[in-house]
Symmetry: C2
Subunit: 562 residues, 2 copies
């Protein structure tokens, strides 16, 4: 990758580029603008190891407006030739990305581990997931049925003036800006679902790297660039920029070339992007996934039967990755009584045993501590776990103990919860409230009180579900995914998963940000009326050369037209 | 339909309810709130006959906040029982709406004619279209494949911890607010695509009647209410309110019960709704179709071959319904030369012969006249038709001559057009500019300069299309529908039509506001994870009792699961 002309950034970090470590020798800290690197910005920043609190090697240059503009121009230039590569060229590109990720697995895990404090096991799963995802999308693109072309065959002889021939395919929106998640540095970041599904849709992508893992981002970005080079993609098909500045975010979102934004993160972050996008002369969609409370409802019979197992699973679910998952359950609701008491008891027992874990960053830790304190200070709320901010027994380096966190659990009754709006705000971290209901009305009131959720869980036996149909009915109206007798934290990649939900879980309830349907965010229908056969794209041609399933006069068919 | 308790409105129009005409005897001028009528508002308004300028019988009561709230509460109450009727109950409801429309055909046409000035022939087509549309949707709902359920079969034995069973169906958003178009008083108004597709999706609907055709709206609203009664739908499934006040629009859009808005109208109207919707605590989508320029590009060879025929078709297209169609072409572009001169000549000839027609209202006429004058005053723009505001030969009633309009045509070269942004604004009426290009670069610059369009047309022979691929390529990036060798004004109902496009033609490029795909605006995916078979909705059950096409592990199948 040739370097750009303006590598003049002056890094002020103690780990300057003159004393390289083993990781740093692989890192350049520059923007990846198409096939070139660029470092025009004078400002730099470093990542920090959340375990030691120390700055990490490599200074990352803040992107300049000119660099963003250059990335946007290249993306615009790349759009037509990139579209022309579909579907086989794009599939090859995605397969090559997967191969690159596989090759870089160890480097990626090492760097992500020191940037995020996430465990090697978790990061290994993430790499495998990212590789699997790129291959899955490659297959979907190559096979082609995802487009589900629609054809209403023309009837030139129909009275009174003939019926036109209408053929509708899906057309890419154009260049997409991607903002990755801090908590999934590999599988929902630079080479995550947003980027891969946008590329699969033939949209060039500009990623703004998350400043908490710029090194991981660089490795991932280099992998995509290298895959683009190997498969002869137009260079502007992918760029990666670094920044810690809100103006840069706004500048990218408001660049006229950008046609859509994809984001995974906080409610505040999503809203800021949405405002930037709607203040454009031509507003563009922001596909933001903004997390939620993901409530767990436990019905009476199953509570009696399985309270200890549910309690154990709940603590496992909320402490996964130190609670830094958008599908972590933030509340568990059950009827008061013996079962509830047992639930409290076993949950508390497991929570007290939960090992402390390092959070992604000081600001995330601080937000978690503030949120936890706010809950603890609420009248009527009982703390089930000691209000410490770390587990002294594990003795992390003294100056950095503050970033470690154990599980914080609270108990409240339904009335208290419903009366305090702030208890319904998602606290990002291993924090949850157990809520006691005394009547079915309270249970339903809790369900009805929920805003849009990515997921919810209902635990119930067959007879529970028959006896309390209202809970499921009310949850369905408010969630993107309803889990029966399990926890929502695992999300399987595939064709039937939906990860999204009514606002504020996501900006648009129609679209998923995980799974193969995530591609539909980046395409729009394009209808060709009375288009001559020789001008039709393959998927709409009479002969159906790819043998695709199509909706012909309203019915599915993979036959050629007669 | 029983009357509400507060019929206290005092009509101040000369046509008070004490002197009924034949039409008035059928009209009550009240809100239709579920199964009841209501007239709590003291303010009233009347419609006007655009031909005579006179107020029409029946005073319409302005809806109060309390009435809107009542309609919203009923819609919310109706949501669950209405969903439970799907699919056969909803299909029966839609069929009953079609039957009601058929029964009321003559009354509808009569009232719409005096409220809008549109011809009886045009209104007859609209009624037939509305009837056809309701039946088409009934069939789609009954057949069920539109839902395209997705199933990833669970693998409890898969390593390391089993794969969950994921089944995703489409779930209605909830109550929808509909704002109809002034220019399609029947087929895109109270019982138009927005209402019918929302009802088909099992969303209760509250329509705000267009104040230019409140009587037509009342007849249509009564038809839907009667169909709801006949098919035992919950009463809140449909309400119709009247208002001329922007606050009332805002109040409806911002009511917490409303989950989506559908609108057909002007850019300004769409933007106002979008602002109201995004200023909610929980923003909701506004599916606004806001019209566009719908440019026509004529390539050289076909221009030589068919200039007179294209010219004639163009004038027919822009004068249909006095140019009051959202797909009316506002510009036609061709290379200068003999063909272009002939195009100008024949277009002018037909334009001068075009009969004057009455516009929908004084404000629409005024906006058209102002837009026309603005074009005429632009340096470099040549008027091809006399700048009159009516055709004296036809002698409409003197005091109302101002509402009649003939065709206004202009000529400009590409440089002039590109330099004057206001020429690219859509003037709603029989107005168009013919643009002369001198180079292919100019032709492409015109295409690239376009904002999002509902439709565009390219006229070209096979060799034209091969020789000028850039025009089609650039248009595809900017339009929802591309018409080859025809005009965009006719829109066929069906499964493959797409009516929408990139902003500002529509708010979201992903959705259509005409055709059977319009239903997808009002549903969102809902994923059920590990749901017990007996709790699954029919479309997701193993046995596939309705024999639907489903996407099972990524492949289409209508077989039961093994």
């Amino acid at each position: 990758m040739p370097a750009g002309r303006c590598d003049q950034g002056a890094c002020t970090s103690p780990h300057s580029r003159s004393s390289p470590t083993s990781e740093e020798s692989e890192m350049h800290g520059m923007q990846i603008i198409g096939a070139e690197t660029s470092a025009c910005g004078k400002q730099t920043f470093t990542a920090h190891n959340p375990v030691t609190g120390e700055p990490l090697p490599t200074c990352f240059h803040e992107a300049t407006q000119a660099e963003i503009h250059q990335a946007a121009l290249l993306a615009d230039e790349a759009f037509d030739p990139f579209r022309a590569k579909a579907p086989n060229g794009i599939a090859a590109f995605l397969f090559a990305i997967a191969d690159q990720l596989q090759e870089l697995e160890q480097v990626l895990i090492e760097r992500a581990h020191i940037e995020t404090g996430l465990t090697v096991q978790r990061l290994t799963e993430e790499v495998l997931r990212a590789i699997h995802q790129a291959r899955l999308y490659a297959q979907v693109v190559r096979e082609g049925s995802w487009q589900m072309p629609r054809i209403d065959i023309g009837l030139p002889e129909a009275a009174p003036q003939g019926r036109p021939d209408l053929r509708t395919t899906l057309f890419p929106l154009g260049p997409v800006a991607v903002f990755g998640a801090s908590s999934f540095p590999i599988s929902m970041s630079v080479a995550g679902t947003d980027t891969i599904s946008a590329l699969a849709a033939a949209c060039p992508v500009i990623v703004k790297a998350h400043p908490l893992h710029p090194g991981t981002s660089e490795i991932l970005g280099t992998a995509i660039s290298e895959a683009a080079r190997q498969t002869a993609m137009p260079s502007g098909v992918f760029s990666l920029i670094h920044s810690t500045q809100p103006e840069v975010v706004r500048h990218l979102v408001q660049h006229p070339i950008i046609r859509a934004v994809a984001f995974t993160g906080t409610y505040q972050g999503g809203r800021a992007l949405m405002e930037a996008a709607s203040n454009r002369e031509d507003p563009i969609p922001v596909f933001a996934e903004m997390g939620s409370l993901n409530p767990v409802f436990v019905l009476p019979e199953i509570l009696q039967e399985r309270a200890p197992k549910i309690a154990e699973g709940f603590v496992q679910s909320i402490t996964r990755a130190c609670g830094q998952l958008c599908t972590r359950p933030g509340i568990m609701v059950a009827f008061g009584g013996k079962g509830f008491d047992q639930l409290i008891e076993v949950v508390t027992e497991h929570a007290l045993k939960a090992p402390s874990q390092v959070m992604l960053s000081e600001s995330i830790f601080e937000a978690c501590r503030e949120g936890t304190d706010r809950i603890a200070r609420t009248p009527g709320v009982l703390s089930l776990t000691p209000l410490t901010t770390g587990n002294p027994a594990e003795e992390p380096p003294a100056r950095h103990r503050c970033l470690t966190n154990t599980c914080s659990l609270f108990q409240a009754n339904a009335k208290t919860f419903l009366a305090q709006a702030h208890l319904q705000e998602d606290v990002f971290g291993p924090v949850a409230i157990l809520i006691r209901c005394d009547t079915e009305e309270e249970l339903l009131a809790l369900a009805r009180n929920l805003s849009g959720q990515l997921a919810a869980t209902v635990f119930g036996t067959h007879s529970d579900l028959r006896e309390f149909p209202g809970v499921v009915r009310e949850l369905k109206k408010r969630v993107g995914r309803l889990v029966y007798n399990g926890f929502p934290t695992d999300i399987t990649l595939g064709h039937a998963i939906h990860h999204g939900g009514p606002y504020p879980a996501a900006m648009f309830p129609h679209f998923s940000s995980i799974g193969t349907t995530a591609i539909y965010r980046f395409v729009r229908p394009l209808c060709l009326q009375d288009c001559p056969e020789e001008q039709l794209p393959q998927e709409l041609q009479d002969s159906n050369p790819r043998g695709l399933w199509r909706i012909v006069d309203g019915s599915l068919s993979r036959q050629p037209l007669l």
